[in-house]
């Protein structure tokens, strides 16, 4: 904190600011210099060479100073003039570390909320784009911005978000994930009704489909509300790639999701309950490889899956260069050695490896995948295919009963949604916005082409 009193030709003045948060040369040029100059005639509003706001209450001034502004006091007027010369170190706009794309914009949000709002303003140059600021956190006084497009946004969802925002009472907020947990109604659901992105183009795309965005100062992640289940299978480059390939990739992702959730459970169920379903030649190979391993198939699958999750966790915590080395050492060497040492059998390693690889196809569903993979494994290894069937029923029931701000997350089979669902129709054919999200102003455009 810098408290700097000084004499002007017409009396004493004082500036207060926190060093490190303001640009000192600008303070000198626009405040100190004009006030100290001999031509200063006591008219401070003319002398200050920057726009300012006047405050008369102590808490307000304190808040402004803590926010990185400069307070300028002149004589005993009882008025503080707040000037904005904020300047602090931030990271520049870089490529996102998740959601990588081959084709499409490569910029990502940063920790600075103003950079983020400017990034989104540059994508949507319309006066209908509204950004509403809130301050949250008893200690952190974090700026939280609500972003939406007036005229398209679902008013019920917007009102609901505002109602839930007003109920948030929290000490500090550093990440959108904390906001998410405060406003999400499905605390213990493994699938969230709130989407997440780091990319301005993804956010802009979702805003014009009637969703609401949430920025939190200090984090490069933005929330999008509401979020349907199918969105987890979409990426931004689906819209930039040509239609056939984009649809192919989406179908692949859906299959990948099914595989990563069901394969361990399904394979355990079939291998240890329904051997007659396995082709004879493969059954012989399974028998001959499991003959020399000590553990039952179900336990083998469980241990290997856990081991893989550990390797993945180790890989993300370690520095990038070592992280990849750990993953390679873990998966290649440990896997091969475990097979050779007769701890696990080779078909099981393949099953778990396939599960792990497909798991990376839908990274936003990591929580969902882990929970339901466990459920499928548990029921599949205790009840066989009946267990797989009941796990399927449980999963579908849970998904179907999950809402996101009043909108069922599985509601993706309307006419407009189908055109942007598991497959993507040609862009010119997507005339309407999703009907589960947008209530009025559903037409995206007038002409197909």
């Amino acid at each position: 904190m810098v408290i700097e009193p000084f004499e002007t030709p017409r009396g004493r003045a004082m500036i207060v600011y926190i060093d490190g948060l303001v640009n000192q040369s600008l303070v000198d040029r626009d405040i100190v210099k004009p006030l100290k100059s001999p031509s200063f005639n006591g008219d401070i509003s003319a002398a200050l060479e920057a726009p300012y706001a006047e405050y008369t209450d102590v808490p307000g001034v304190t808040q402004e100073i803590l926010g990185g502004n400069v307070a300028c006091f002149y004589r005993e007027s009882g008025v503080a003039r707040i000037l904005e010369f904020r300047q602090f170190q931030t990271r520049g706009v870089q490529e996102p570390d998740a959601e990588g794309v081959i084709r499409g914009p490569k910029e990502a949000f940063t920790e600075n909320i103003r950079t983020n709002t400017s990034l989104i303003r540059r994508k949507l140059k319309t006066p209908d784009l509204k950004i509403e600021d809130y301050t949250m956190g008893r200690q952190s006084h974090t700026t939280v911005s609500l972003v939406y497009v007036e005229g398209i946004v679902n008013q019920q969802v917007l009102a609901e978000i505002k109602r839930r925002f007003s109920k948030i009472d929290v000490g500090v907020i550093f990440e959108t994930g904390e906001i998410e947990q405060y406003i999400d109604e499905n605390t213990f659901s493994p699938v969230s009704g709130i989407g997440l992105t780091q990319k301005p183009d993804v956010l802009a795309q979702r805003l014009v489909e009637g969703r609401v965005g949430v920025f939190v100062d200090g984090t490069p992640h933005a929330l999008t509300i509401p979020s349907l289940f199918i969105e987890n299978l979409h990426t931004s480059s689906d819209y930039y790639n040509r239609v056939l390939y984009a649809s192919f990739i989406r179908i692949l992702r859906s299959i990948g999701l099914l595989i990563t959730v069901m394969l361990p459970g399904l394979s355990v169920a079939v291998i240890s309950y329904h051997q007659e379903m396995i082709p004879s030649a493969f059954l012989v190979s399974i028998i001959s490889t499991t003959l020399k391993t000590p553990l039952p198939v179900a336990i083998e699958v469980f241990l290997l899956t856990i081991m893989f999750e550990m390797l993945r966790e180790a890989g993300t915590r370690l520095p990038k260069a070592i992280g990849s080395a750990i993953t390679i050492v873990g998966s290649l060497i440990i896997g091969d050695a475990a097979v050779n040492a007769g701890i696990v059998s080779a078909p099981i390693v393949i099953i778990v490896a396939l599960t792990a690889v497909t798991g990376f196809m839908v990274p936003s569903l990591a929580e969902f995948t882990v929970v339901y993979r466990g459920l499928f494994w548990l029921l599949g290894s205790t009840m066989g295919l009946v267990g797989i069937g009941s796990a399927m029923v449980l999963m579908l029931t849970q998904l179907a009963s999950t809402d996101s701000f009043g909108i069922p997350i599985l509601s993706s089979f309307g006419k407009a949604e189908r055109k942007d669902g598991v497959v993507r129709y040609p862009l010119w054919d997507m005339l309407y916005r999703p009907e589960s999200l947008v209530k009025d102003n559903r037409r995206r455009k007038v002409r197909p082409r």
Partner: protein
């Protein structure tokens, strides 16, 4: 809370549903084929051919395995179940029938009646309906496990692979799985048949044997040809390859059948590419008359001795010759079923049942007698639809004469 309790109770009912037969794959002894036989003292003998997993490629680093790919174990008992249980007196693992490919029956067993075996197989939840049913026409049926099985590693696999490939090349054998057999057994007016195997001793050195260790001195070849005809559940006789062709023609499941027709000095070979058979049973003046009309569409495979198929009259003559020969062939086969078997394996009764259920209900109890004494009239109408890639004979000088 109440919802969670309800959910847990619902899940518990699933656990009680009886799907608790958890079997670790490594504890299984997978049967590849099973032979049902009658022992010298009249008790049942069941021989299972069991895959040997340690001989599979899965554990071998390289090269062929030095172990036998399968073992055979025989159990004896007063009932089939007892005999199967007797196998486990020798075997240390759980016998698993879910991957059985073939069920062999000895002549003696089939003559005594299949009903016990069918009942056992239908009741058991692991015994499935897909394995082929084959009768072995030999006093020593167990020799099948010491015969050459060409390119396969196990007898069950050998029969399964043959069942997939043989119908595409010849119609001289039948492949009937357990479900087909059971269906025929229950169908009114159609008697069941099974495949037929006989052994032939190998005159040359057994070069057919790829597996050096299993039976290096094997001198027996398996011949899968003909069919075994049943009456109800009892074996009544055999048909040879030519008669089996007729069976396929009359049951309308010909994939490929080659018929040789002598024309001039040489033979012309015709392939039946598809055919239909219209079976009619009528009762004029108290007699039973079975009428069969077979329509066959033919392909010319070879035309020796230069028949010029570009001439319509040559084609016509060929068709007529074919019709006559096949009519005779059908006549002979049906006659055999009538007089020797007294068993309607071709399904004439079923055809009557379909067309005139009222009449069938009146005569079905005496159908076997009516069938055996019925007059048969066969008409074959053939049509050569493809002469092959050449129309004229390849021997040009014959035409020049």
């Amino acid at each position: 809370m109440r919802r969670i309790v309800c959910l847990c109770l619902c899940m518990l009912t699933l656990v009680c549903a009886g799907c608790q037969s958890r079997r670790e794959p490594k504890k299984l002894a997978v049967a590849n084929s099973v032979l049902y036989d009658i022992g010298t003292r009249g008790d049942y003998e069941v021989t299972a051919e069991i895959m040997n997993p340690s001989a599979s490629q899965g554990t071998q680093k390289s090269g062929a395995s030095s172990k036998n790919p399968s073992i055979t174990i025989t159990g004896k008992g007063a009932s089939i179940r007892d005999a199967v249980a007797d196998i486990t007196v020798t075997l240390e693992q759980d016998l698993f029938g879910g991957h059985n490919k073939a069920r062999f029956f000895s002549e003696e067993f089939a003559k005594k009646g299949m009903i016990n075996a069918l009942d056992f197989l239908a009741r058991d939840h692991l015994a499935d309906e897909t394995p082929y049913m084959v009768v072995i026409r030999d006093p020593n049926p167990k020799d099948i496990y010491f015969s050459s099985i060409a390119l396969s590693d196990m007898v069950g696999n050998y029969i399964e692979r043959m069942g997939k490939s043989q119908p595409k090349h010849t119609a001289k054998g039948v492949f009937v799985n357990t479900l087909d057999f059971t269906k025929d057994y229950y169908t009114e007016g159609k008697q069941p048949v099974t495949g037929l195997i006989r052994f032939e001793s190998c005159v040359d050195k057994p070069s057919l044997n790829t597996d050096g260790n299993q039976n290096p001195t094997s001198t027996r070849l398996i011949k899968y040809e003909g069919l075994a005809a049943f009456k109800d559940d009892k074996l009544v006789g055999y048909m040879d390859g030519k008669e089996t062709q007729v069976y396929h023609l009359l049951t309308e499941d010909v994939d490929t059948a080659f018929i040789t027709v002598p024309m001039g000095d040489g033979n012309t070979v015709l392939e039946i590419s598809h055919s239909s058979a219209d079976k009619k049973v009528t009762f004029p003046e108290g007699k039973t008359l079975i009428g069969v009309t077979v329509k066959a569409f033919l392909r010319v495979v070879t035309a020796e001795q230069g028949i010029d198929l570009s001439r319509p009259e040559a084609v016509k003559a060929l068709e007529e010759e074919f019709d006559q020969r096949v009519e005779k062939q059908i006549d002979a086969a049906v006659h055999k079923a009538q007089r020797q078997f007294h068993s309607d394996i071709f399904g004439f009764g079923a055809a009557l049942h379909g067309k005139d259920p009222q009449k069938w209900r009146e005569i079905k109890d005496q159908w076997d007698d009516l069938f055996s004494s019925a007059d048969v009239s066969v008409t074959v109408q053939s049509n050569i639809i493809r002469e092959g890639e050449i129309k004229q004979p390849i021997t040009m000088e014959d035409i020049g004469e």
